[in-house]
């Protein structure tokens, strides 16, 4: 029955749904997982890299992590070609804001701009929605470090920790039990939300759970960290293979000793 209301992006079904938007969200559930975690003094994002062929030339740039401006980076789950368009939009918006106000764009405004652009494709034009979900990680002086998630509908929300892409429900349930925001839960003695090192390990744990097969290895995982340096400038870092290997090892060791 829903078939009749499937094809047009801009038509509601009798149940009040936009099927094309929902199908776009489905498309992302087949894509490589991305997890984002807000840490005490920074943000961690970890992505599953899907290598489709051994013949592929080694990538010079990431297919998951993209820098938007000096203080914001995003990771992508979904159709890379669609993502490129939206990333261009985000970079343009951030740069134009900087030009107009000579100040970095506040994170929520950047996210909202991209999302408004996506929303248009659910309401006008007869074009299909973008098959991309993003995790936006960024810093501004008003609200500090922030993590946002957005999807093809153009909705966005701020998160302490979240997962997009394949098996995101499993990832999210692991985060629910393991991500400690102690200040929010009233046990502030341990110092509140995790530090970067703990967040990195948690991110690897989440990817282990969501990825098929034997899980962790450096060529299947990409780890990204955003922090502030001494001059209050954002530092964006994609970890080297050695650094990733070290963290994977730490997680394995902890898992092994936890069984004792």
């Amino acid at each position: 029955m829903a078939r009749r209301y499937d094809s047009s992006t801009t038509t509601f079904s009798p149940e009040g749904r936009l099927h094309q938007v929902e199908y776009a969200i489905e498309a992302i559930n087949n894509a490589g997982t991305c997890v984002g975690i807000l840490a005490k003094d920074g943000i961690v994002m970890a992505c599953e890299k899907r290598v489709t062929s051994g013949l592929l030339a080694p990538a010079k740039t990431s297919e998951k992590t993209y820098k938007l401006c000096q203080h914001a980076t995003c990771t992508v789950a979904g159709l890379t070609a669609d993502a490129n368009i939206l990333i261009d939009q985000a970079r343009l918006r951030a740069a134009r804001y900087q030009y107009q106000y000579q100040e970095p764009i506040p994170m929520e405004q950047l996210v909202e701009h991209v999302c408004n652009y996506k929303q248009a494709y659910t309401q006008y034009g007869g074009l299909r929605p973008f098959g991309v979900a993003f995790l936006f990680a960024g810093y501004d002086v008003t609200h500090g470090f922030q993590l946002y998630q957005s999807d093809p509908s153009g909705n966005y929300s701020g998160w302490k920790a979240t997962v997009i892409g394949a098996n995101n429900q499993a990832g999210k349930s692991l985060l629910k039990s393991e991500y400690k925001d102690e200040e929010a839960e009233g046990e502030a003695d341990e110092g509140g939300i995790p530090g970067i090192a703990a967040a990195l390990k948690l991110a690897v744990k989440v990817l282990n759970k969501t990825m098929d097969g034997t899980g962790a290895s450096t060529d299947k995982m990409e780890l990204f960290v955003m922090t502030l340096d001494d001059t209050k400038q954002c530092v964006h870092k994609i970890l080297t293979d050695d650094e990733v290997k070290k963290i994977i090892k730490e997680v394995e060791d902890e898992a092994a000793s936890a069984g004792d």
Binding site: Q100, Y101, Q102, E103, P106, E108, Q109, V141
Partner: protein, 202 residues
């Protein structure tokens, strides 16, 4: 050039003073004009130029800043951002239909808890300054302010510097500018310190 605007930054705020004459050629239309409209709760724009342009430009900037505040969860842009925005609009208009406005933007930055003063002209020049003037006033008061301005002055000391400038203009400037409006912006916001003639009188 007929409008005199004087601005002085002090520790924690900015004072801007402007004459209150609204005149063209030999006719004085009005002698209680407020040439220092507020842009936001914590910034003001002392303007020199034809009355139409002053009102048009200052309201345009003020309303855009208000739209920003409404769209972005009550966020007030810093004086630095406001000044650069205003400068950008002056630059855009320059090669279309210029705003004939020379201004001093005085604001209080809630982040740094400092006053900030910006000098801008109709060509799109922008410069952050400790003290400044627009109109003929500059010819007379920049030298005295250069000598008298000190880092870390308080509001009373800054007011002295401004009043010294006004007094000099009264003696040395050919144009008669009997009424002056003096405003201050600090952490409490924008308020009038004194006026020669009440702008509210019709």
């Amino acid at each position: 050039m007929g409008d005199s605007i004087i601005g002085v930054k002090f520790s924690g705020g900015v004072i801007i003073a402007a004459d209150q004459s609204n005149a063209r050629s030999i006719l004085v239309y009005q002698s209680n004009l407020d040439k220092i409209p507020s842009l936001t709760s914590h910034s003001m724009l002392g303007c020199s130029g034809p009355n139409a342009d002053i009102v048009n430009f200052s309201e345009f900037i003020a309303k855009n800043l208000e739209l920003y505040r409404l769209s972005n969860d009550d966020m007030i842009l810093s004086p630095h951002a406001q000044a650069n925005f205003a400068r950008g609009e002056l630059a855009k208009a320059l090669r279309k239909g210029p705003f004939q406005v020379n201004a001093l933007l005085g604001g209080y930055d809630v982040k740094s808890k400092e006053g900030e003063l910006y000098w801008m002209d109709y060509l799109g020049t922008l410069q952050k300054v400790n003290f400044g003037a627009q109109g003929y006033a500059g010819y007379f008061v920049l030298s005295t302010m250069d000598r008298e301005w000190k880092e870390g002055m308080n509001e009373a000391e800054a007011l002295e510097v401004v009043k010294h400038g006004i007094s000099n203009l009264g003696t040395r400037l050919l144009l008669n500018q009997p009424n002056w409006l003096i405003k201050v912006v600090d952490e409490k916001g924008v308020r009038t310190i004194e006026f020669g003639a009440d702008p509210a009188d019709c």
